[in-house]
Symmetry: C2
Subunit: 581 residues, 2 copies
Amino acid sequence: MENNKLHDIRHSLAHLLAIAVLKHDPRAKLAIGPVIDNGFYYDFLLSKPISETDLPELEKEMRKLIEAKLDFIGAERPKAEVLKMFEDQPFKCELIEDLSKEGSKLTTYTTGDFTDLCRGGHVKNTSEIPVDAFRIERTAGAYWRGDEKNQMLTRIYGLAFESKEKLDEYVAMREEAEKRDHKKLGRELDLFIIDEKVGKGLPLWTPKGTAVKFELEKFARELERKYDYEHVSTPYLGGEELYRTSGHLDHYTHSMYAPIDMDGDKFYLRPMACPHHIRLYQRKPWSYKDLPVRYAEIADYNRYEKSGELMGMIRVRKFQLTDGHIFVTPEGLKEEFKRVCNMIVEGMKGLGLLDIVSYRFSKRDPENKEKYFPDDDLWNHAEGLMKEALDELGLPYITALDEAAFYGPKLDVQAKNVHGKEDTLFTAQMDFLLPQKFEIEYVDADGQKKRPVMIHRSTIGSLERVFAFLIEHCAGAFPTWLAPTQVAIVPVSEKFMDYASEIYNKLKAEDVRVELDSSNETLGKKIRNNKMMKTPYLIVIGAKEVEAGTITAESRDKGQIKDLKIEDFVVMIKEEVAGRR
Amino acid sequence: MENNKLHDIRHSLAHLLAIAVLKHDPRAKLAIGPVIDNGFYYDFLLSKPISETDLPELEKEMRKLIEAKLDFIGAERPKAEVLKMFEDQPFKCELIEDLSKEGSKLTTYTTGDFTDLCRGGHVKNTSEIPVDAFRIERTAGAYWRGDEKNQMLTRIYGLAFESKEKLDEYVAMREEAEKRDHKKLGRELDLFIIDEKVGKGLPLWTPKGTAVKFELEKFARELERKYDYEHVSTPYLGGEELYRTSGHLDHYTHSMYAPIDMDGDKFYLRPMACPHHIRLYQRKPWSYKDLPVRYAEIADYNRYEKSGELMGMIRVRKFQLTDGHIFVTPEGLKEEFKRVCNMIVEGMKGLGLLDIVSYRFSKRDPENKEKYFPDDDLWNHAEGLMKEALDELGLPYITALDEAAFYGPKLDVQAKNVHGKEDTLFTAQMDFLLPQKFEIEYVDADGQKKRPVMIHRSTIGSLERVFAFLIEHCAGAFPTWLAPTQVAIVPVSEKFMDYASEIYNKLKAEDVRVELDSSNETLGKKIRNNKMMKTPYLIVIGAKEVEAGTITAESRDKGQIKDLKIEDFVVMIKEEVAGRR
């Protein structure tokens, strides 16, 4: 089925919904009824309320209309006539006035006794609408024209697809996505909280969340060390002159918070750490032999976000980016950029995210240059180099125009979330501009002072965002190395507590993240609780284990492992963790 | 020699300095000449400049005056007479006016031909002044009465002690302290920078400094895990309501920065993390069986400091505290506090700081209660408990009145810096107040809701401050486990670079912090450079080593270790690091 056809079905269903609502409440006033990406809605000012329990009735009524095989008949009409037709419908009258002011034609669509003001896009006859591929699913409040100064209307949402199979598939996908939602799992698995008193957009990592965070930090730093980065540590504040020089105060203030006065000087919560790393670079002279100089930091960043745009760990006001800046000679740029790409792929693979990740080569729009640093030669050179690098690596990528940074092209690491929506996880960028602004230098083989190029890049993105993607991707069932609790010990009863404690202490001494369930719940309840927490291994301790001096481990992913010596279990789990499985 | 006698000598020397300066510049105007803790100074408005090279001449003149055995003769005089005597000395006239306004007596002291306005405190005769125990050491600018709106004067400083031995001892101590100064060593050993563009009071840790920082973090976290803390991670910002509830906005604003607006809400750079940890505690209900709950975090803190009070890594505007908060039942408080003390002692021992650390039990001043949370019974109880805990541990401590926190008594871990000055490194505090303010609870064995007590405590203090103390204490020669570079490899010439690289890679693969010196310097220069950096081990690679397939390690602390296999060296250094030596 073509997209237009699906659009027409959804749009026609909106009209049928209006008919059904008018039958329920003949005095209802109609606002608008557009198509959305999973169906349609219609906004009404009702004279008697509609509750969720009324929805099946509306659906039934709509099915009758479908089975009645009604035509959709469009007609263009003069303003006076349309105003007359909708004299009882104040919202429609408002729309009619607006449309005529714009000089638009006025069209109506009639289905049986019902006529709506509508620009069209409908099926010819209701018989074209699959009778089992839609569902009226919920109501919500909505202001007329989205403006909170206007009247509050009732919005009724419907899902609609080409077939029952497609509808069922969508509903199942959405249920799964809801189950995997990182905000929901974050609460259920006790990974993080967002607390109104601490502040919106400022998550707090609980002990379990922090355990995952530390593993992610360790992972990023090991990778960085392997790729010859040096770690640095710089403050999340920066003086006015710093961000004046960098140009952030000219181009980036919309994402920055207002400055703070410190005894007469102005300081900003930093939006980026590049100027800090540049000032570190500038603390001493460098020779071409020292380059590339690679600085990495899990850096605190702050971004201005409106309350309404905050979202769990995905969009926050303060985050920690696995950040890094490379100072490289122009001659070394391409090879170094390839090295960065290899590192990124290795990182995504290590985290098990390769499946949901894709790469976007973001270029300047040559038709719309004013948004970009003005130097055609430099842009052509940089984009050419980046293309060569990507092609030589054989990295599969798409090209996107007008998505570059102000100062250069970039590679965006894109990830799809469980709702199918794509987000940028992090980027790698070439930058010829900041080195100029800060006048950074190295001494070349010929003894001349030259200007290095910078690469801005992240290792695995912000800890917050990658954590959210990981939670959703594995539905909270983290691989053992990342799991907040790796082993839960469940004694069958109080009697076996001594042996259970012994096992607990042995595992803790080996740095295994282990919990001992000493609650008074029944065994069944204890096992269910720990399974709900998606712990990779449960060790149930009963008479048999105490007698034999062994354990039985219930693996979340691999079934039961019986009669194991604790020492062997330690070897097994440590191997798993070392291999980051 | 009594302190008074030393004071009189120093004061008398100030007069002799004035005589010497007047001989050099008869038109000089005299301001004041007080005693300071290592000698004295005198402020002059000179008509001809005095440079450092003139100082020996002044000293010589003063020695002559000492040998001339002149008397110091005091006299009380009427105002008119004194004004007349000092009619050429405008600063003295100003002082005379002020003194008479205060109703003070006016006294003068005469030595030979010279008379100064002076309240006294002198030797009877210059022969009492040891002729070889003072030194005129430097000049500096100083405003009359310390006010920058007034005239700039020349201040001449002198050192003076009871004997030549005491003077030499003081000078040697000061030289040593200057050599150990963490700001100086921080620069020389490339550990951190303070950059004017980034901002005063906001140090940046270089790669070498960050290596030490990571070791300190690891040390603190291991210790915290050993003592059953759970790690959490919370943002350095907090909403207005949070700090309203905690009382920080009533009692602590002088140390806080102005709030930042985030889309209509006010946020503060947090001065403390207790409210954040409390909100984490409050995310779920707790039973008495769960307590103590111990949260630890290397937490970002911000404190308002005036520019003039900033000092290297010791006093900064943003720091990271090895922070922690314990929620404990009132019954468990004493034992838990002892546990905290044991942990602190273990931490200071592990860092090798026991020698410079002492403990101060800081109590409320019962005569001056208005500064403190008003509840006598609670104070008596808390101070009693803390005393019992300290006494039971046998921890040597001094008691200090009026040094408690607003909300409870505390144990201050005091450390002496190389200049002999004592500073608080960190504290452990009992707190009954915040649990009330936030209404935090647990369910006791009897099913009743009760209020826990909080302990605020640090593990090893702020990373910045403890780093500064460590640098100064070991004069930059860090023990191997903390050393930014643990091994430097120095090939005798380019020829041995391959073997040197092989050794380098083997050490790097074992996570040893190793550097390969590939500079074009002479061998001697390379060795000197690496010794200046105080690297624990130098490995010099020449023909002999390549031939034998061994290495020779030059230990900074233990002399030469010859003909070692690299594998044996790895075992040795890893043992050293694991043992934190």
